[in-house]
């Protein structure tokens, strides 16, 4: 790719910032980034935790072990994502995590006939099994799947989820970037469509208070409607998270509500 995928520019942000942001929006627990020793990372949300992979070049199981270890007892299930999936959608993550149950250790999407171990949900208790495989030099995820209970979700199964069908119908969530051309093509895609609402003194007199805008980030939406995210303005994403973070990643179907920060009365 010419430069590390994590730092690749993504419409005013970076690939890693975007993917961690999307995952963070989709789960309740901590978000952990596993990086190589000495690896430079782009700026991330302060809530994102970074751990270093103890042994470089040991493949995805080594990263998985480091991540599961960092999560510890703070969550029972971990969604694992690669860095290079800018089209990852929260509905995809929620669908995969939501498919876990007491009889399953791994929920493994199989999209277009390909298994997606880096877009899958793992029981955190698998850490011991993963470490045993690493110690035995059995470094491919397939070895782990042989040892645990795996629920595979193919395209059809994923699209049975109403939110995934509506918001990520082409399952772009698993479209990764292996070549510069992949990156160029993905980068040239139109931004996701989001609904924007403005309240209070931010509500325009001559335009509808609710409109549709295309943008990759919160900063992009603000710019599109001529607002600056200063100390007097905040935004609520889908009626939930309050933010002024211009790099907060957005996805199709989001609603962004801008309001004055000086609440009270």
């Amino acid at each position: 790719m010419g430069s590390p995928k994590a730092t690749l520019e993504w419409h005013g942000s970076t690939l890693l910032r975007r993917v961690t942001g999307i995952v963070g929006r989709s789960v309740d627990g901590p978000v952990v980034v596993v990086c190589a020793p000495g690896q430079d990372l782009p700026a991330l949300d302060p809530a994102i935790e970074v751990v270093t992979d103890a042994r470089e070049g040991r493949g995805p199981l080594q990263g998985l072990a480091a991540g599961l270890d960092a999560i510890g007892d703070r969550a029972a299930i971990a969604y694992v994502s690669s860095t290079d999936v800018p089209l990852l959608h929260p509905s995809f993550v929620r669908c995969v995590v939501g498919a876990t149950n007491d009889d399953v250790d791994v929920v493994l999407p199989e999209i277009g006939g390909y298994r997606q171990p880096l877009a899958a949900a793992y029981r955190v208790e698998l850490l011991g099994a993963v470490e045993e495989l690493i110690a035995a030099d059995r470094l491919r995820p397939a070895f782990l799947f042989e040892r645990c209970r795996v629920l595979q979700l193919n395209d059809e199964a994923m699209l049975r989820d109403a939110a995934v069908a509506r918001l990520d119908p082409s399952l772009g969530s698993v479209r990764n970037l292996n070549e510069p051309a992949d990156y160029e093509r993905a980068h040239a895609l139109p931004p996701p469509e989001v609904v924007v609402e403005r309240f209070g003194t931010l509500a325009p007199r001559s335009r509808p208070r609710r409109e549709t805008v295309r943008a990759w980030t919160l900063g992009g939406v603000a710019a599109a409607i001529g607002l600056t995210l200063d100390e007097h303005i905040v935004a609520a994403l889908n009626g939930d998270k309050i933010s002024r973070d211009e790099q907060l990643p957005l996805a199709a179907g989001d609603t962004v509500a801008f309001m004055v920060a000086d609440a009270g009365g």
Partner: protein, 627 residues
């Protein structure tokens, strides 16, 4: 009104003694203590050390309550004091400084309550020559208290009894002249409705039932006329600060208040599931659009106004019933609209106007009626006409409360006492803390605010604990209360303690980049003290704890710092798919952290070290002895 029953001059009654040392700039160094029952008055000197420790307004009011309120007195007993407190900034050209505090033991909570109001009464009241006016005792018949500088009289006013406060104010000024300023109660205060207000110039010292305390003294109104002047220590510096502050007050930080007023909160809160609806059974309201300022301001707003000495101009007056101009605020609209399930803007404006006329706190009125609507729908009380969403029923209920007739006799007691009377599980959804009904901030989706509501001395309150600011800052997840929420709640509580004591309007808060330093600068220029931010931060902590110590003295127990059961047992679903849950253990954890940070033990009592650090040993010893 007839001739005065008693006229007396307070010159010489302790006056010379308290004036032996000149008072600091901005102060007179004394409080007027009026005994309405004995028709007598005295002057209470206020030491400079006290003024510096508690400043004025709500802070000085808390200290005066320790001094003047007999332990365990019933709030509506003649011996219970009602105190009007001014502040060092009143009378200066500093924008929004024309404010006063009214302090008493609340008939709703049995604990300390203080409410702020503003405009000319603050200036004229202070320029009678007193930093505070303490009322004790009760008049033998409905009367008006007149304070004309050092001359004080009690005048029978049977003809005013029964009038709305605004009407009484108008008549008194017509009779006595425009130099007089009047704070009065309406019919609800006369009938001792436990959440009655005291009003001046269309503004209200609203929360906690101060109007009932005044009504229990058969005091329809207090009239004040300025007879003295007070100088600032450094008038030039004050003038420069006033000019600077005035310019800043025209900026973005106050635009919301200027352009739409606090009603601008309503649709925004609805969008983030923070709008209490149908007695807190939901946090979004289908009918919100029809009540949003963005929707109705152009059609209905008829005027904009401001208090004396204010350059913000937050008052937005709407076309009310019979062409009456009605001031609409977020809290009115939330409490009389979504909280009661009412989406008819005409009904909500009429209800708000009716509350003003009767002299009722709109938040407690709406909160108590919403509780009753739920009771009626569940068959716990036999009031078939009282249903969520029915604007006509809302107006009828308000009228009956004001008259203490029908269901109003029960509801005039507030939701806590009413629910104890009804029982049958209705206490679980009576939305109050310490007896004070919750304001328009949903605690499950604003969890710093949940803590602020639970622990504040006044009860469920948004003005002494503005912790929603922390929730809406984006600095923490507002659905997952924890340590950052505790820090946010304490920070906003401390800021409020200073703003409410200086006094400056909170709508100005956004213009201060470095609040404690800037406020210390203002206080120093007015008083001549060399106050810095650190001292002011300590003062804030002292004031917060002084209020807690008063409550402790009056029998406060640890379980009063809590939220009603509904908030801890019912979750809310958000549009994002997340569930907002506030568990008892999470609230308990936040309260524990709050106590630690405030220097309290886990039963909520202050440690000796904390009392020593804040120079509160005397109040602390008294609280432990009597509490």
């Amino acid at each position: 009104m007839t001739r005065p029953e008693a006229v007396w001059s307070i010159s010489g009654v302790g006056y010379d003694r308290c004036m032996q040392k000149p008072a600091p700039g901005g102060y007179f160094g004394k409080a007027l203590v009026v005994d309405l029952g004995r028709a007598s008055g005295t002057v209470k000197p206020l030491k400079e050390s006290v003024l510096r420790s508690y400043i004025g307004g709500a802070g000085l009011g808390a200290w005066l309550m320790h001094e003047c309120c007999p332990a365990a007195v019933e709030p509506l007993d003649p011996d219970a004091p009602l105190i009007f407190v001014f502040s060092p900034l009143v009378g200066t050209p500093l924008t929004t400084s024309a404010k006063f505090a009214v302090v008493a033991k609340s008939p709703l909570t049995g604990r300390l309550t203080d409410a702020l109001a503003s405009s000319h009464f603050a200036i004229a009241g202070k320029l009678t020559g007193h930093d505070a006016i303490v009322l004790r005792g009760a008049c033998a018949r409905p009367s008006v208290l007149m304070i004309d500088g050092d001359s004080v009289s009690v005048v029978p006013a049977d003809d005013l009894w029964g009038l709305p406060a605004a009407e009484a104010e108008l008549r008194l000024r017509e009779r006595m002249g425009p130099g007089w300023r009047v704070a009065a109660i309406g019919p609800a205060g006369e009938r001792l409705v436990r959440y009655a207000t005291i009003s001046h110039d269309g503004r209200h010292a609203g929360r906690g039932g101060l109007g009932a305390v005044m009504g229990s003294k058969r005091c329809k109104a207090i009239m004040v006329r300025a007879r003295h002047k007070v100088a600032s220590a450094d008038p030039r510096a004050v003038l420069a600060a006033a000019k600077d502050l005035r310019e800043r007050s025209f900026g973005a930080a106050t635009a919301k208040y200027r352009e739409l007023g606090t009603m601008a909160n309503l649709l925004a809160f609805n969008a983030i599931s923070a709008l209490p609806t149908r007695n807190f059974s939901a946090a979004t309201f289908d009918g919100a659009q029809s009540l949003g300022a963005e929707e109705i301001a152009e059609l209905r707003q008829v005027a904009r106004s401001s208090c004396a000495s204010c350059s913000i101009g937050c008052e937005h007056l709407y076309d009310g019933p019979g062409g009456k101009k009605t001031r609409m605020e977020y809290e009115n609209v939330f409490a009389l609209g979504p909280l009661c399930g009412v989406s008819d803007a005409d009904a909500v404006i009429a209800a708000s106007s009716l509350c003003d006329e009767l002299g009722l706190d709109t938040i407690s009125t709406g909160g108590t009626i919403a509780w009753a609507m739920e009771c009626a729908e569940k068959g716990l009380i036999d009031v078939p006409w009282l249903r969520f969403g029915d604007g006509t029923a809302l107006l009828r209920a308000i009228n009956e409360i004001g008259a203490r007739q029908g269901i109003g006799e029960l509801l005039a007691e507030g939701s806590r006492l009413a629910s104890r009377s009804v029982g049958r599980g209705s206490e679980a959804f009576a939305a109050h803390v310490k007896g004070l009904e919750l304001p328009g901030y949903e605690p499950r989706t604003l969890q710093a605010m949940a803590l602020g509501l639970a622990v504040n001395a006044r009860g469920a309150d948004h003005n002494r604990s503005g912790a929603y600011e922390a929730d809406l800052s984006g600095r923490h997840d507002r659905l997952l209360g924890g340590e950052p929420h505790v820090a946010g709640a304490i920070e906003t509580e401390d800021r409020a303690a200073i703003m409410d004591s200086l006094i400056l309007c909170k709508f100005l808060r956004g213009v201060f980049a470095d609040p404690f330093s800037e406020w210390a600068g203002l206080l120093s220029a007015v008083t001549g003290w060399n106050v810095d931010a650190e001292e002011l931060a300590t003062t804030a902590r002292r004031i917060v704890l002084a209020k807690r110590l008063f409550n402790l003295r009056e029998g406060w127990t640890r379980d009063e710092d809590w939220l009603p059961e509904r908030f801890l047992s019912e979750s809310l679903e958000l549009e994002s798919g997340r569930t907002a849950t506030l568990s008892a253990s999470r609230l308990e954890g936040m309260i524990s952290s709050y106590y630690r940070a405030r220097g309290l033990d886990q039963t909520g009592l202050p440690s000796r070290a904390t009392l020593g650090e804040l120079e509160l040993q005397e109040l602390g010893a008294e609280a432990r002895q009597l509490g």
